[in-house]
C-alpha cells in the first residue's frame, strides 16, 4: 500500500513538473526544436533542472543503495544500430507532433481527443517495435524499463 502510494505520487509529481514547465504544451517543444525561427530555450532549462537534481540525488542515495541493474555493463548497454535508428525515428515523430510519451500521457488528463489518438498510435507503434525486435509478450519482464545505463 505504501509502495503504491509512493509510486502514484511519483507519477503525479512528474506530471505536475511537466505541466509547470510547459512541456505538456507542444508549442514549447517545437519552439525549442525550431533553431531557425524564434527559438524558445525553455526545454533546455527543464532538462538542466531535471538532470541536475536527479544526478545529485542519485549519487547521494546510491551510497546506501546501488544504482541497480540499470548500471550493468554489457548486454544491451552497448551503443548499437538499434539505439541510434530507434532514437532517430522517435525524434521525427516528436518533431512532427511536439509530443513525447510523458507529456502525451499527461495530456490524456486534459481530455484532449488528439492525445487519446496519439497515445493509441504510440502503443501500436511500440507493439510493432516488439515484433521487429522479435520479442513477443512471452519474454522476461523488462525490469530496467528503458535507458539502461
Amino acid at each position: 500500500m505504501r509502495r503504491a502510494a509512493v509510486v502514484f505520487g511519483a507519477g503525479l509529481l512528474f506530471g505536475v513538473g511537466l505541466v509547470i514547465s510547459g512541456m505538456t504544451d507542444p508549442r514549447n517543444v517545437v519552439g525549442f526544436l525550431d533553431f531557425t525561427g524564434r527559438w524558445n530555450p525553455k526545454l533546455a532549462f527543464v532538462m538542466a533542472g531535471a538532470v541536475g537534481i536527479h544526478a545529485v540525488l542519485l549519487r547521494l542515495l546510491a551510497r546506501k543503495r546501488p544504482l541497480g541493474a540499470t548500471s550493468r555493463a554489457g548486454g544491451r548497454a552497448r551503443i548499437d544500430a538499434k539505439l541510434v535508428v530507434g532514437s532517430a525515428i522517435f525524434g521525427v515523430g516528436w518533431g512532427l507532433s511536439g509530443y513525447c510519451p510523458g507529456p502525451a500521457i499527461t495530456a490524456l488528463g486534459f481530455g484532449l481527443p488528439a492525445a487519446f489518438g496519439f497515445v493509441a498510435a504510440m502503443i501500436a507503434g511500440a507493439r510493432l517495435g516488439d515484433r521487429v525486435l522479435g520479442r513477443g509478450a512471452g519474454d522476461a519482464p523488462d525490469t530496467t524499463c528503458s535507458a539502461e545505463a
Binding site: 513538473g17 531535471a50 489518438g117 511500440a126
Partner: protein, 143 residues
C-alpha cells in the same frame, strides 16, 4: 528572459525529484515509454502495478492541470499526421530503448553514454523534422 524560464527550471527540478522518488522506491528508471510497455504486458506483479500507478499519476496531474486551466492544446496538425507521429514515437522509443524521460533525464543523470548518444540523436532528427516541416509544409511550422 530568465524570469520567463523559471517555470521551466522549477518544473524540471520536480521531474528530477519524481524520477528519484520512483527509483528509490522501486529501483527502476522512470522512463515513460518503458513504463507504458510495462503497463500493458501480460505479466502481473509489482512491475506491472508500478507502471500502471505511475502512469495514472501522470494522467491525474493532467486532470488537475486542466481544472486549473493550464494550456495544453495539441498542435494544429491533421489527424493522420498526429497518428503517424504517434506510431513513430512508439516504434522509435521501443527500438531505441527509451524516450525523453528514460534516456534524456534518467540516462543523462547516470552519465550513460548510450543515453547521451540516444538524446543527441533524437534531438537532431526532431530539430531537422521541425525545420523541414516549417519550411516545406504549409502550416507545418510553429503556431
Amino acid at each position: 528572459m530568465l524570469p520567463a524560464m523559471l517555470p521551466g527550471l522549477i518544473g524540471g527540478v520536480l521531474i528530477g525529484l519524481a524520477a528519484t522518488l520512483f527509483w528509490a522506491e522501486t529501483g527502476r528508471v522512470a522512463g515513460v515509454s518503458g513504463l507504458l510497455r510495462g503497463a500493458w504486458r501480460a505479466q502481473g506483479g509489482e512491475g506491472r502495478s508500478d507502471s500502471v500507478l505511475f502512469l495514472l499519476g501522470l494522467v491525474a496531474a493532467g486532470v488537475i492541470a486542466s481544472l486549473a486551466r493550464a494550456e495544453a492544446a495539441a498542435l494544429p496538425r491533421p489527424l493522420w499526421l498526429l497518428l503517424g507521429a504517434g506510431v513513430l514515437v512508439g516504434f522509435g522509443t521501443r527500438v531505441g530503448g527509451g524516450c525523453t524521460s528514460g534516456h534524456g533525464v534518467c540516462g543523462l543523470a547516470r552519465f550513460s553514454r548510450r543515453s547521451l548518444v540516444a538524446t543527441l540523436t533524437f534531438m537532431a532528427t526532431a530539430a531537422a523534422t521541425v525545420f523541414i516541416a516549417g519550411h516545406l509544409v504549409p502550416g507545418g511550422g510553429v503556431p
